[in-house]
């Protein structure tokens, strides 16, 4: 990566930053300049290897870098100034931490001598970002700068990926020192274990081979592990004939068109996925973490199953749910061993699974994603279905904001490949999708990149439309506009007597005019009959688009596991009358958190 003349060359800190980025293979950098990073910006100005994308807010830089990372498998990189630049990045850092996204954030800092003096645009960046990064560094000596940036890339991208921050005081950027190229020897305290314990993997395969009612529950870890892991997962499913479900973060690792696919599980997962989780006898959890949106009531979670948990993070195993076999390692490596052992030892007779598949077919027949069509008003589920149909055969990437539209997208848009679905799962960050789409589009300039958005979420980072127009990134912002914070409204209906406290947006911008104001293309669609033509127009326009899709205002997202309930106590759409929804609460329940 580094050429010989750069080895141990003297340069300024700012030069080192740019050189270190190049040596770590960085091609795109999302950022926003300011006083404490001007020396680095000056260096960026004088080179052409790295393209800098100027966002409109540092949070946007972070989510764009996340989208970039999630869609490429490479680290996303952002550069922001001190003080407010760093604090604005915090939301994106925590988002990346919870969803295990490799993100390298470089922050400027006031000169070393002024640290602690409440200088202009000073904040305790390493203190503020300590709990929302995998690791962070304050660089006090220019001679350590290069090594720290290399280590930052190593930490961000290996083990369980995550965000890192390197805080660089302005005097360090000006100071001259010796540049060291990337080293292969990592620090001794940080050595993530990738290879699983073979004895445990053997025991797991033996347990799986004798299962009568098995299920595979895969998560974002399979996608983080790389395309080989998704390929191996498909092989394992094919070999074993097991049903498979996935978390929100894991969609696409196994194709939604695959015959063993049960759909997403969890709070808004399918009936068949959740019932199969509840009734299974052996569960294989691959790179997922038994999040509370997945398990439902924890003491009623899959009560009769043996659980095998594969995770690269030892703290994930046995955190929420006890694993009978916990395998610490990279899910790709473990899958490789599992597939090999399965081929060598396990039975190939899938007949024993027939009763289980018949049971699953009965659950599937409940058609838990059904909704009532309407000829006059666009149903949000219908809009996603039409969008999915229109994008078939295209090189499509989907991002989302957070809320009902996100769950409908997960339910009704189907992914056959990994790295095609970018969403804020752990933190649930409204405003994630638009800048994430921008990041995806920068990485894949010719692809069709769509942010399935809600009217409330999208306004949190709408300013990045300006960035999309500047870089001619033809992102499509497909807003399911119901004028409500739909998921908040749904919870208010469920939990708070339908008192819709501040969840209705009385003054909504005209999204078509807004698009035009930014120099983008605006489309509005209000009738189901017009939808297909409008979507075609959106796809055909070669510039950024805001699509204002006016949908039924009061639609609720079902099926749903109401809180405090188990997987087998789902609220299904045909049972969820207004009365049933209103009665799904009592005074005692309201007293809980």
């Amino acid at each position: 990566m580094s050429n010989g003349q750069n080895e141990r060359r003297e340069m300024t800190g700012a030069e080192m930053v740019v050189q270190a980025l190049k040596d770590n293979g960085v091609l795109h950098l999302f950022g926003y300049p300011g006083g404490a990073v001007l020396p680095i910006y000056d260096e960026l100005f004088q080179q052409e290897d790295i393209q800098h994308i100027l966002v409109r807010h540092e949070q946007g830089a972070g989510h764009a870098a996340e989208g970039y990372a999630r869609s490429t498998g490479k680290p996303g990189v952002m550069l922001v100034t001190s003080g407010p630049g760093a604090t604005n990045a915090v939301t994106a850092l925590q988002d990346a931490l919870m969803d295990s996204i490799p993100l390298v954030c470089l922050t400027g800092q006031v000169p070393t001598a002024l640290i602690g003096s409440d200088a202009f645009q000073e904040c305790d960046t390493v203190g503020i970002t300590r709990p929302c990064t995998k690791h962070n560094w304050l660089v006090k000596d220019v001679n350590e700068l290069a090594a720290i940036i290399h280590e930052a890339f190593h930490v961000a991208t290996t083990g369980r990926p995550g965000p890192v921050v390197v805080d660089i005081p302005k005097d360090v950027q000006f100071a001259k020192g010796i540049y060291t190229p990337p080293q292969t020897a990592p620090r001794t305290s940080y050595q993530p274990k990738v290879q699983g314990d073979l004895e445990k993997i053997k025991a797991a395969v033996a347990l799986l081979a004798n299962a009568k009612k098995p299920i595979i529950y895969s998560g974002g870890g399979v996608i983080n592990s790389g395309p080989e892991a998704s390929q191996l997962l498909r092989e394992l499913v094919e070999l074993s004939g097991f049903p498979i479900t996935s978390t929100l973060m894991g969609l696409g690792a196994y194709p939604a068109s695959g015959k063993n696919w049960l759909g997403m599980l969890g709070m808004h997962g399918t009936y068949e996925a959740n019932m199969a989780m509840h009734d299974c006898d052996v569960m294989l959890c691959l790179g997922a973490r038994f999040d509370d949106r997945i398990t439902g009531r924890i003491n009623a979670f899959s009560p009769n199953s043996k659980k095998i948990h594969v995770d690269i993070d030892p703290s994930s195993i046995n955190k929420n749910v006890r694993a009978d076999i916990g395998i610490l390692g990279d899910v790709g490596h473990v899958l490789e061993d599992m597939v090999r052992l399965w081929r060598a030892t396990a039975k190939t007779d899938k007949k024993t699974l027939h009763p289980w598949w018949e049971q699953i077919a009965r659950w599937r027949a409940r058609d838990s994603l059904a909704y009532r069509m309407n000829d006059d008003v666009i149903m949000p589920q219908y809009a996603i279905q039409r969008l999915f149909e229109a994008t078939k055969g295209k090189d499509t990437y989907i991002t989302t904001e957070v809320g009902q539209h996100q769950m409908w997208a997960a339910q009704h848009f189907h992914f056959d490949q990994p790295n095609r679905w970018m969403t804020s799962g752990g933190l649930g960050t409204m405003g994630y999708g638009l800048p994430a789409a921008l990041g995806v589009q920068i990485a894949h300039p010719d692809a069709l990149v769509i942010d399935i958005a809600g009217d409330a979420s999208v306004q949190m980072t709408i300013q990045e439309m300006s960035c999309a127009v500047q870089y001619e990134a033809p992102i499509k912002i497909f807003i399911l506009n119901n004028q409500y914070m739909g998921m908040v409204r749904q919870w208010q209906q469920l939990l708070h007597g339908n008192r819709l406290s501040h969840s209705y947006t009385e003054a909504m911008p005209d999204f078509v005019l807004l698009a035009q104001a930014y120099g983008a293309h605006g489309i509005r669609c209000e009738k189901p009959g017009d939808l297909d033509a409008a979507i075609k127009e959106m796809i055909d326009v070669k510039k950024p688009v805001i699509f204002d899709c006016r949908v039924a205002a009061l639609a609720n997202c079902f099926p749903m596991i109401p809180s405090g309930k188990a997987h087998n106590e789902m609220l299904l759409p045909d049972e969820a009358t207004d009365e049933a929804v209103a009665n799904a609460i009592d005074a005692k329940g309201r007293e809980l958190v």
Binding site: H135, R187, T188, D292, R297, L494, S563, G564, V593
Partner: protein, 190 residues
């Protein structure tokens, strides 16, 4: 099914804790670099774990390694989480739950010692009594004039507690305790 017949309470599911909490002593070996202690204690406060005692000092100067001894309280499940969460911190080399290790070695608990400096001021009988009791506790006098003593006492936390309690009516002025230093018995290292 029948979900609509039963109450639902919240966006979160909270299960009752059935395990009983225990007190354990952890040894954490870390790179002695800026912020490392903040990472460790930030983990405890951020995730709602308890710290009952914390001791830290560089133990291997040439390698810049510090050993942190933490006495914490939680259910066995939480204690296991604490260990794994500590291991995730990049500059952490290793974590040993000394209490668990002691049990594995067939021992009641690890060796734990604490040092305290105890200042007692007084005259007459109280002064004589304080000195006599200090002798019984093998506490040594490290500073004195005609009106006060400073005792140095080393031992288990319970012994130090007891000594302080006894000194209270005899003119106790101030106390400084180091927190627990601990290791397992036997030839093996952590």
């Amino acid at each position: 099914m029948n979900a609509q017949l039963q109450p639902t309470g919240s966006a979160y599911f909270i299960a009752k804790e059935t395990e009983l909490p225990e007190t354990h002593t952890l040894s954490v070996l870390v790179d002695n670099e800026p912020g490392v202690l903040a990472r460790v204690i930030g983990l405890f406060s951020g995730r709602g774990y308890n710290i009952e005692s914390l001791t830290v000092s560089e133990t291997e100067h040439e390698k810049h390694l510090s050993r942190i001894t933490i006495v914490t309280r939680g259910t066995p499940h939480v204690l296991e989480q604490i260990k794994h969460q500590l291991e995730r911190i990049v500059p952490v080399h290793g974590v040993v739950d000394l209490t668990v290790r002691a049990r594995e070695l067939g021992q009641d608990r690890p060796l734990e010692r604490e040092l305290a400096l105890v200042k007692v001021a007084g005259k007459g009988d109280n002064r004589v009594e304080a000195l006599r009791l200090a002798d019984a506790f093998r506490a040594s006098v490290i500073d004195a004039n005609t009106e006060h003593f400073i005792f140095e006492i080393t031992g288990k936390g319970s012994k130090v507690d007891q000594f302080i309690a006894i000194m209270k009516p005899l003119g106790l002025v101030e106390i400084c305790r180091t927190g627990v230093a601990a290791m397992n018995r036997g030839p093996q290292g952590m």
